[in-house]
Symmetry: C2
Subunit: 407 residues, 2 copies
Amino acid sequence: MYSFEHILSKAAQTCAKPFGGLPKHHFVGGNIDEPTIPIDALSDALVDLLKDEGHHLAKYGMDSGMQGYLPLREQIATMLAKRAGMTVNASEILLTTGSLQAMDLVNKALLNAGDIVLIEAENYAGTLTKLDALGVYYIGVKTDDHGMCPLALRDALTNLAQSGRKPKYIFTIPTIQNPTGTVMPLDRRHEILALAREFDIPIFEDDCYADLVFSGERPPALHALDTDERVIYCGTFSKTIAPALRVGYLVAKWPLMGHILPLKTDAGSGALEQMLLAKFVPQNFDAHVKRLLPMLKAKANLLCDALDEHFGSTAHYTKPVGGIYLWVTLPAHVDTEQLLSAALAEGIEINPGPQWAVDKSAAKNKMRICFGHPTHASITEGIKKLAAICHQEFGVPLTSSNTHNQP
Amino acid sequence: MYSFEHILSKAAQTCAKPFGGLPKHHFVGGNIDEPTIPIDALSDALVDLLKDEGHHLAKYGMDSGMQGYLPLREQIATMLAKRAGMTVNASEILLTTGSLQAMDLVNKALLNAGDIVLIEAENYAGTLTKLDALGVYYIGVKTDDHGMCPLALRDALTNLAQSGRKPKYIFTIPTIQNPTGTVMPLDRRHEILALAREFDIPIFEDDCYADLVFSGERPPALHALDTDERVIYCGTFSKTIAPALRVGYLVAKWPLMGHILPLKTDAGSGALEQMLLAKFVPQNFDAHVKRLLPMLKAKANLLCDALDEHFGSTAHYTKPVGGIYLWVTLPAHVDTEQLLSAALAEGIEINPGPQWAVDKSAAKNKMRICFGHPTHASITEGIKKLAAICHQEFGVPLTSSNTHNQP
């Protein structure tokens, strides 16, 4: 039989395994709560839309060109104005196959191998693997409870400038940072923007989780505060409506948009989702998110309670103000990669810290726990089991400590 | 204002223009006939599926992993067995954002800059631009009324072997070749496969139009005749159901599939289309295609009649046996790029030959006319106008010749 192994490209050296199903307690991935999917409203919207708009399906671009279905782009512009304080025209929006494609397109448009970018030191694992695949260097900027630290950013920019190098962009997730869950306050947003202007670097803002602030109130996006069009922005419906829909969006000014468009070589993303959301969003989005937030907050609280009960002072975390994940620090001797191996054998999956951080060794004892998708029962049972596995592997939490809540 | 022009990557030098609407007579692109879209059946399928399967949307991969919705992959396996004679397991199918993403993934998995591939000398414009963007060299293999010529393929393979070079793959569209519309007969399929084995080269088979053979009968796919697993295959629902749906599929054996999967960095294609087609295909696909074919054939005939009437012996073509495009040869002095410019000014768009051929100068007087989407009225009126414009620009067709049909 012919083997393709000897003709694989340099990019294709990794080999995935066939899907073997999800573990019972699945605390990873941006999956969301099943009961929150607005099936009835989506159904109603779908039937109407096919009757009214189905003929658009006959054409690539649905009479809207390669940027995606115009009515949805208009809805997104309205939504971004209301929710993120942004002033955006539909012509500056590109609909993408999730925000991951938006990220790929921005990277493809701006980055060559050997380039440098600045990113938050703890980061979405996909950010790191995408940059690795492109041969791009990334420097992790320290974060605290308010997100990326301006002082650390100034240091990094100054150091690079002194060695004659200029990063291609500053990538930030200012609202519900992934994985740390922090929300950058308004004054710090201004500071980060001022630094970007001072060093003349663009900003790539990932706002994927921003609709999930439990209080319903968020600071304006960096894009909204930008005074000289240096912020590229991406967002998604994955975390509010459904991840499998794969509808993300990229916001960029022309002519940058004109340079990005030819790089989207798939002739458009799925039309049905775009048309569906164009119907759904104006009537249902705000109410849907309003219903969603207390359900997510209840799960976040349940997860914190379970950690307090079973890990006690062994697990440190900052109580989440939004989102679907929690960044947990365990004692220094715990290796979360090893914890994952042992946990997987018992049907529990967590994200070990090293995959979510620039400095792998500093994140050895950290883990990301996603609480959006698991049921209440799975959170309670899974965390209890995880604590037992952790104790077995690393001697912590001590059984007695489980009864002491952390401060 | 910040300008991104100075930081664009090497890949992003092209700049697209904002969408300005489609011309009145739009004879380009793989768009299809609007009235053929099965709106009612799709609507019915959608409502059922959201009620029954909507919960899958909460997870990336819809409980099917990163290859896409398993029930649809199973339906495609059944369909490929029946329609193309292929024996394929659902685990060998990857659902993609149209077959264009399948093409990108195969290219990314197998090609490095500087590699060589063999392709049919007249080809889908996207094939050429994708290979150009990758810095891959392509050699055009001569075609005749039966598709890629085995003698020309042997010559190309021999020449390369003598200079110590080996192409990465042979790319072919054996059934309703794009743009020539030819269907490769069974014996030639065996010859092409034998050459691939003799020179030990894989084949990348693009079968996107194969369901549109007007007679409803097609030879088995090369993949079906392959004896040693050297054929990678892609197909799509774009031409049978709707192009904007963006559901294509890639067929590859493991472990090649395992190398391709990590290159699909968008976390999956649109779920709704996949779930919809999983419901629609088993009950409706065959009947839908059966209804579709005579409608397309009628348009093909109308286009040929219009060409005969208005271009007369000035336009040479082979009467189409399927598909949605016609490859037309005009007299040697006609420049179809110039014809396009003049035609666009009058609201008519055609594909000039040079964009659809490896040898641009040899295709200067050729054009591709797509008849799937334009209405009957647009075909009749558009071709009449096009003949007048052609006469104005190039002196042909002569007014008198318009009354003589070609043999």
